[in-house]
């Protein structure tokens, strides 16, 4: 068998196998990772500037696992350490302590193998060559992964079709809209068909239709025969809820919780706010009928009254209230529920942190 034939038959992952790699289930394992950004030449700077400089602690004791074929969400406020964590997994930043492994390969000691298994789509526009075309850009990155021209062209054409970029294939990257540049970033991450994807706000600049398409592409990736494991970082919480089977909340460089979106919301506040729109009774009559309710609030809108109260999820309060109102001649016009969102959960953790920080003295 000729060398060309061998190389043409090799996908990036087969090359890894040739180099003695062991096949492991596609997953990311982050164990007790800490990252402190050092101050370069700290002593020299302190001597010159005479300022008290402190290294920045971006992450501390971060541990979680992304299972094979899972979409795992990473959410948290700005500066929480999401990008640092993503870059550590992608081998672009080295952790100060702890270990990160992708498919069993250590991100520091087996960097090359980790890079073979990971595709990163960042929200950064400035990561392509603006003066060359979409196809030339993708071709360059495909060649970096060692793909043959035939294989690369086939893959590019599949991706162009999947992301509906046919009209732009021969356009310069710089001429693309922000949304299309965002799509290019995901296309590049998928070019070598990696088993692990790191997606940093994949729908940030997309219009609603394109965002929905992107979400369905992401879902399809985990449903295919060889499912992809995805770590999704996003500030779009409804998107995270829709796509992710589990979510980690990162705040102040620490993982505050890891669970399904449903459980996370339940842990934070297992209550919901109920709004009943009715007519046929006077506000005073309503207050007399429902004296036992928490946070009872009545809003009058013309002949209608909106009754708002808080209840524990799935308790019998709603049934009691509706029964009393109906028995006393009220007509129920509408029923709305205001449930806890992931935003409330993040805010809860952030409030806790700010509370803790107040007691910490600083240099």
């Amino acid at each position: 068998m000729s060398a060309t034939a061998i190389a043409n038959d090799l996908t990036a992952f087969e090359v890894a196998d040739l180099t003695g790699a062991q096949a492991e289930p596609a997953s990311i394992s982050v164990s007790n990772v800490a990252k402190t950004y050092p101050i370069s030449f700290q002593r020299v700077r302190q001597a010159i500037q005479r300022k008290c400089l402190h290294p920045v602690e971006a992450l501390s004791g971060v541990s979680f696992e992304v299972r094979q074929g899972e979409i795992f969400g990473l959410i948290g406020p700005n500066g929480a350490g999401k990008t640092t964590l993503t870059k550590i997994i992608a081998t672009m930043v080295q952790p100060t302590s702890g270990t990160v492994s992708v498919h069993g390969y250590d991100s520091v000691f087996d960097e090359e193998q980790v890079r073979l298994h990971v595709g990163l789509a960042s929200a950064e526009e400035r990561s392509f060559y603006w003066r060359i075309s979409v196809r030339q850009n993708l071709m360059f990155f495909a060649r970096l992964y060692g793909m043959s021209d035939t294989e690369a062209l086939r893959r590019i054409s599949d991706l162009v079709e999947l992301f509906n970029m046919g009209d732009y294939e021969h356009r310069r990257f710089g001429e693309l809209s922000t949304g299309n540049k965002q799509r290019m970033s995901v296309m590049r991450a998928l070019i070598a068909d990696p088993p692990v994807l790191l997606l940093d706000e994949p729908t940030r600049s997309l219009d609603p239709v394109a965002a929905a398409t992107m979400r369905s592409v992401i879902r399809a990736l985990v449903e295919q025969d060889r499912p992809v494991s995805i770590l999704l970082t996003s500030h779009n919480l409804s998107e995270v809820e829709e796509l992710c089977s589990r979510v980690a909340i990162l705040s102040g460089g620490q993982i505050r919780d890891v669970d399904t979106p449903k459980n996370l919301k339940a842990v934070e506040t297992p209550t919901e706010r109920v709004h009943i729109t009715m007519r046929g009774l006077l506000p005073a009559e309503v207050e007399l009928l429902l004296p036992h309710l928490d946070d009872l609030k009545l809003t009058i809108e013309g002949s209608e009254i909106i009754i708002s109260f808080t209840r524990m999820e799935r308790d019998d309060q709603l049934d009691l209230v509706l029964g009393r109102l109906h028995d006393n001649g009220a007509t129920i016009l509408a029923l709305d529920f205001e449930r806890t969102t992931l935003l409330d959960v993040i805010q809860g953790y952030q409030d806790n942190r700010e509370g803790q920080d107040c007691g910490v003295s600083r240099c």
Binding site: I6, A7, E112, R126, W130, M139, R143, L144, G146, M147
Partner: protein
């Protein structure tokens, strides 16, 4: 390790099942080793081609730049030709290669553009990737440090080779400079010198990775080489103090070697000293430069500053 052939010759009699399986295992290992080596070389060439095609595409997106450089070369060669009339026959105490200053200057300028590429191409490539924001994405691919070094400077070297050849061609075609000697030998001296300078280039790039700007290696060596390695005047006219600097510069040996081959027509035997010196420079600098580059890359990753510029 026992190879399959060795095992076959060891077991001359009827082979046992164990021997057969040992041979099969050895054959598999050899096939795998051969396949691995072949695949690795092919992957290297695919990546190299990727970089060269990208840089070519970027270069032709600035068409005027290329033609302006060609025009600039024509003007420099013509100017040097007329200036050389002033100095012809006036250079005293210099080797034969300076009998015709025009020929000496042309080889000097041609090779300095080539050597300058060695000094600065990698640092420039890294700086350019930092500014474009693509450095992280390039280094995110499963590409090794030596491949990055060779591949990201390949286009610059191709371009510099073209312009070096263009200098020599213009001088030969329009201004009557005659080149003699072994072209292959001249090429070996050029490649060897460029490899030594590439080591300095790797040091520059390491500095750029960590400190981003203000690289002292490239700047000092490029200026120093232009002044002290005999581009414009013979090193013999520098005096004792400056000739020490001249002796410490690899470009001095490279330029002298190429001129001795192309202008004086010297052969392998006469150039043994020059070649040995260049090889010694290479042996001393290459491991140091590679270790430093790797260290700089790790430092940038530790500091999270790869994307910064």
């Amino acid at each position: 390790m026992l190879t399959a052939d060795k095992l076959r010759t060891t077991y001359l009699g009827p082979k046992s099942a164990m021997a057969n399986s040992a041979i099969a295992a050895a054959e598999r290992t050899e096939v795998n080793a051969a396949a691995r080596a072949a695949a690795r070389s092919l992957l290297f060439f695919r990546r190299l081609r990727g970089f060269v095609s990208r840089d070519f595409a970027l270069a032709i997106s600035y068409r005027m730049d290329f033609f302006m450089r060609m025009l600039q070369t024509v003007i420099i060669v013509t100017a040097l030709f007329f200036i050389s009339y002033v100095f012809r026959g006036r250079v005293q105490g210099a080797p034969r290669q300076w009998d015709d200053p025009f020929a000496a200057w042309i080889t000097g300028f041609a090779l300095m553009s080539y050597f300058g590429c060695g000094f600065s191409s990698l640092a420039n490539a890294i700086r350019s990737e930092q500014l474009q924001g693509t450095l992280e994405n390039v280094l995110m691919s499963p590409i090794r440090v030596p491949t990055v070094i060779i591949a990201s400077t390949a286009w610059e070297f191709l371009q510099a080779s073209f312009f070096a050849f263009f200098y020599l061609f213009l001088a030969w075609c329009f201004f009557g400079v005659q080149y003699k000697g072994n072209l292959l030998l001249a090429l070996i001296v050029i490649v060897l010198t460029a490899m030594v300078l590439q080591c300095v280039g790797i040091l520059s790039a390491s500095f750029t990775l960590v400190f981003k700007r203000g690289d002292p290696f490239g700047a000092l060596l490029a200026t120093g080489s232009f002044l002290f390695s005999g581009v414009l005047f013979p090193t013999q006219s520098l005096g004792r103090t400056f000739s020490i600097i001249s002796c410490a510069l690899p470009t001095t040996y490279g330029l002298d070697g190429v001129r001795r081959v192309l202008i004086e027509g010297q052969g392998w035997g006469q150039l043994r000293g020059t070649l040995t010196t260049l090889v010694l420079f290479l042996i001393a600098l290459l491991p140091f430069a590679l270790v430093l580059f790797d260290g700089a890359l790790r430092r940038a990753k530790r500091e999270g500053s790869l994307v910064q510029y």
